[in-house]
Amino acid sequence: MIVDANCHIGHWPFRRLWTATADGLLGMLDRAGVDRAIVSHTHGVFYRSPHESNAELHEAVEGHRDRLIPFACLNPDYAGWRDDLKQCVEEWGMRGLRLYPTYHRYALAGDGAAELLAEAERLNLPVSVSCAFEDRRQRHHLDTAPDLAEHDIDFAVHRHPNVRFLITTAPITVIDMVVRHVAHQGNVCFDTSSITGPLSDSIQTAYELLGPNRLLLGTLAPFEYPEVALLRVQFIEAEAQGMENILGRNALRLVGEEPSP
C-alpha cells in the first residue's frame, strides 16, 4: 500500500496546476502507482475564512473516501474555529488538521495556536503543517509568505509534546535542525516532498536522522510530478520494513489506521 502524505485539491492563484479536482488528482496518483493520499484544499490558504475550503474539500472527496483522506484547514486566529473544527470532525469525518501558519500569519508555537493544538490533542487528530509550496526561486511576486522556520517547529513540538505533527515540504536543513534541537521529537514526522537525492544524499540523511517510523512519502501533487518523490525513496538504503513504513504504513498510523502486517 502506497500512501501519499502531501496532496492537494484546488486552484493555485499563481499558476495553473496540473489538476484542481479530486478526479484529476486520483488520475495523477494512479499513473504513479499511489493507492491513497492525505489531501487538503489549497483554497484554505487564501480564503479569509479557511473553513469555506473545508466544505469544498468535503464535497470533493465524497465518493473517494476509500482513497482520499481529508485534513481540515483552520486558522486559529479566525473567529469560530471551534465550531468549524467540530463540523469538520463530527459531520464531515475529517481525519486531521492542516495548518499554514506562514500564510495565515500566526506563530505555530504561539498562544493563539495553542488552543487549537490542544483541541487537536484532545481529539487525537494529527496536525499537518506546511513549510512552503513553491520553490522560493520561482514564486510570484505576490506570494510573499516566508517558509516555516525550524525554530517555529522546534518550539511547537516542544510546547505540545502530545500533539502528533507532520511537517511537509521541509528541506533537509530544517529536518536536521529540528532533530538536533528537540530532545524528545517522537511526536514529529516529516514528508519527503522537499528532500532531494541521490547525489546530495539528502534523502538517505533524512532516513538516518528520522529512522524508519518518522519519514513519510509526500509528493506535493498536483504541484509536482509524483513520480519524482517515488524515485527518490527508491534510493534510500533501508530494510524492507523501513521502506514499507515510508511508503505507506507511517501515514496510515498517523491517521489512526493500523496497517495490516
Binding site: 496540473w18 504513479a32 520553490d135 520561482q138 519524482v228 534510493f235
Partner: protein, 282 residues
C-alpha cells in the same frame, strides 16, 4: 536515455562523481554530457583560463574512467574570449569533446560571447547556455542571462545549436518557453531541481518534442521523474529521452572549418553595439 546537462566535481575518483555514475546506471541513463565548472574558482562565472583548462582536463580523466558513459562538454569563460576560443579548439579538435558549455561570466549579448558561440556553430556542436528563468534581479558575482539573451544569439547565429539550460532550475519557466518559442535553433533542456507538474507538457505544446532535451543537472530523480510523469505521447518522450541529443551531437568533421554561419550583413543595431563595445566581429 542521454542526459544533456551533467556536472562533475573534482578529479576521479571524487566521491560525488562516482555517485553520479552509479545513480545514472540505476536510473538507466546511458550517456552523460558532462562539464566541470569549479577548479578553485568560487563561482563558475569567475573561472579564469587556467581554471577552465583544469576543469576540461579533469573531464577528460573522467571520460578515460567511464568512456561508455561520459561525453565531454568544454567549459570556457567568454570574459577571456581569445583563450576561450583556443581552449574550445583544443577540446574539440584534439580531445574529443562534443559541445560547449557557457556559464554567467558575461551576458550572452556581450560582444565577447558571439565569436565563441560562432566558433561552436562552425564546429556544428551544441552550446549549453546557463540561464536564469526570467531574470528579475541580479545575482552577485555573475552576469546571468535569461531566454532573452539566448534569443539574441539565436537571431544572429541561426545555424548555432543553442540549448537553454535547466528550464526547471527555479524561476519562471513559462517565460523562457514563450521567449524561446519562435527560434527553431533554441532547444530546451528540461533539467533542474524544480518539478512543477505541467512544465514538460507546456514546453511540448509550445515548441514540440524535437526541441526538448532530457537532462538532470545533478537533480537525478527530478530529471527522470518529471519526464516519466509528463502526459505527452510516448513517441515524443523517446525523442526527449535521447534521440534529440544524439541528433544534436551529430557533427560534420570538426576539423573542417566550413561555411560561416553568421549572417554576412548584420543588422545596423548589432553593428552599432559591437562598435560601441570593442569592435570585434568574428
Amino acid at each position: 536515455m542521454w542526459d544533456c546537462h551533467v556536472h562533475l566535481y573534482g578529479d576521479p575518483p571524487h566521491q560525488r562523481g562516482l555517485r553520479l555514475l552509479e545513480a545514472s546506471r540505476r536510473l538507466g541513463i546511458q550517456k552523460l554530457f558532462a562539464s566541470r565548472l569549479w577548479a578553485g574558482n568560487r563561482v563558475p562565472a569567475t573561472a579564469t583560463p587556467d581554471q577552465f583548462q583544469v576543469c576540461n582536463r579533469s573531464v577528460e580523466r573522467w571520460i578515460e574512467r567511464a568512456p561508455d558513459q561520459i561525453l565531454g562538454n568544454c567549459f570556457v569563460s567568454c570574459t577571456y574570449p581569445d583563450e576561450a576560443e583556443r581552449e574550445l579548439e583544443e577540446c574539440i579538435e584534439r580531445r574529443g569533446f562534443r559541445g560547449l558549455k557557457l556559464y554567467a561570466a558575461c551576458r550572452y549579448d556581450d560582444p565577447r560571447v558571439l565569436p565563441v558561440v560562432a566558433r561552436a556553430a562552425r564546429y556544428g556542436i551544441p552550446v549549453l547556455l546557463h540561464v536564469t528563468q526570467r531574470r528579475v534581479n541580479e545575482a552577485p558575482g555573475q552576469y546571468a542571462s535569461d531566454a532573452r539573451e539566448v534569443a539574441y544569439l539565436a537571431e544572429r547565429l541561426p545555424g548555432a545549436k543553442l540549448i537553454l539550460a535547466h528550464l526547471n532550475g527555479g524561476g519562471d519557466w513559462a517565460f523562457s518557453i514563450k521567449t524561446a518559442r519562435p527560434y527553431p535553433n533554441i532547444f530546451l533542456d528540461i533539467s533542474g531541481s524544480s518539478v512543477d507538474a505541467g512544465m514538460v507538457e507546456a514546453a511540448y505544446e509550445a515548441v514540440g518534442a524535437e526541441r526538448l532535451l532530457f537532462g538532470t543537472d545533478s537533480s537525478m530523480c527530478e530529471g527522470v521523474g518529471k519526464l516519466q510523469g509528463a502526459e505527452i505521447p510516448e513517441q515524443a518522450k523517446q525523442l526527449i529521452w535521447g534521440a534529440n541529443l544524439q541528433r544534436l551531437l551529430q557533427t560534420k568533421d570538426v576539423r573542417t572549418k566550413d561555411e560561416m554561419i553568421i549572417p554576412r550583413q548584420p543588422s545596423s543595431s548589432f553593428a552599432l553595439r559591437l562598435s560601441s563595445r570593442c569592435g570585434v566581429w568574428p
